[in-house]
Symmetry: C2
Subunit: 231 residues, 2 copies
DNA sequence: CACAATCAAGAGCAGCGCTCTTATTTCGTA
DNA sequence: TACGAAATAAGAGCGCTGCTCTTGATTGTG
């Protein structure tokens, strides 16, 4: 059904992919700020105006790279989760966190594109919201697997946070206690705080053994969301 | 001693300040990416080449804004700490965190400049490292005030993290137990994880009552660094 | 007073995103 | 199979950018 119609459609797919490939290469090499449509076209042996047949603007090309980056870091998280399927929840949690961090360290510019300063207009395009949620979903799933049945000790919910906690839990994980949902979202953002500080250089001259530091912090985040050291 | 020599020196100081002011205005309005030397010069009624007498490049102007932003957010943290001088450590901690968040929410583009993707070349200029440490120092000081004398229950340090913890503690707070120093650095980066996710839009359609959510998360970070709810 | 430092201004270069026009190639269909 | 429509490539060009170099005027100092 979705077979390629003819030579033209096939060429379009290939050229679109080639543009994204070259753009990703330039992104990885120099960062989003120095990604240039003209340079991409030049490298591909075409003229810049021809490139606009495939991406209507530079921001659209960047959006495509954003989606790819979200998918890549999400896939890394999912891979770590599935590879540790039988293990204890806390070990799975830290494995997922380490996989996310490893991807970020290996792809700093792509990471900056999705978790750094928002580059284009303020609101993220619709295409990005599903890929952007993949890491969070893995974290929720990992935590959920430890919460089938018995309750886990969570800190009491402050009075003023109760409505928000109920709403938030209903949105992202209706089967989990509201306090856990709130903690999960906090741990999610704090995980990327750790990673961003490392990738963006804020640990320069401060944290040296970043692997060990991160592993300990990620493990602690896992305990925060109710994953016990033994069990 | 440091009096202004003559009309020319005085004009130089004023013009330099005017350039920074206008640049900060444009930064706040449109973000770092759209900050243009030519636009700044235009708004100031001068020609673009004249501006290079005051800032040798666009990156140098951006660096000046970075220093200003670090100083502003650091001052906000210090103000919150001094205004809560007599209160309980955990309340002081959350007050500092909220002040930092409030500044970030009020100045999203300036926040993005310092805690988002690093914009210029990879290493931060020397001028930024002292201002950049002000928030962290306030956090350390706030936590230290709760650690005069009696020990506080901290999670055990993993085996592999002991050398790093000792080194890190010696660097940033020799009088504090290594486990606390490690936790502090983690809380520091995780605090900015919470703030960055809010400012950069990752909480869109997820967290609604951001004040309450942040307050609870910040309080929990404070407990992580050993600040007790009562005492 | 004269000399040196400082500065504003202009012209200009190379690069950028993007648009419009023109010519060529491919495709579905009459 | 031939034709008209759609898609594509290429070129020229607009206004913008950061930045450099040169020229001429202003200011401070020996």
């Amino acid at each position: 059904m979705t077979t390629v119609r003819g030579a033209r459609a096939r060429a379009r797919i290939e050229i679109t992919a080639a543009i994204k490939d070259e753009a990703r290469t330039q992104l990885a090499a120099e960062g989003a700020a120095k990604l240039s449509l003209r340079a991409v076209a030049r490298e591909l042996g075409m003229v810049s105006s021809a490139l606009y047949r495939y991406f209507p603007s530079r921001d659209d090309l960047l959006t495509a790279l954003i989606v790819e980056a979200y998918d890549a870091i999400g896939a890394a998280a999912e891979k770590a989760a599935s590879e540790t399927a039988g293990q204890r929840p806390l070990d799975r949690w830290t494995a997922v966190c380490r996989a996310v961090r490893a991807w970020a360290v290996a792809h700093p510019h792509e990471y900056a594109l999705i978790y750094g300063s928002p580059v284009p207009g303020y609101s993220a395009p619709q295409d990005t919201i599903v890929p952007a949620s993949r890491v969070g979903l893995v974290l929720i799933e990992t935590a959920r697997s430890a919460h089938t049945g018995e309750g886990v000790a969570l800190p009491p919910l402050p009075e003023g946070l109760r409505p928000e906690a109920a709403r938030l839990a209903a949105d992202i994980a209706p089967d989990l206690p509201p306090a856990l949902a709130v903690t999960l979202v906090g741990a999610w953002s704090q995980l990327f705080g750790l990673i961003s500080f490392e990738v963006f250089g804020h640990f320069h001259n401060i944290v040296e053994d970043r692997e060990a530091f991160f592993a300990a912090a990620a493990r602690r985040l896992g305990q925060d969301v109710g994953l016990l050291p033994r069990g």
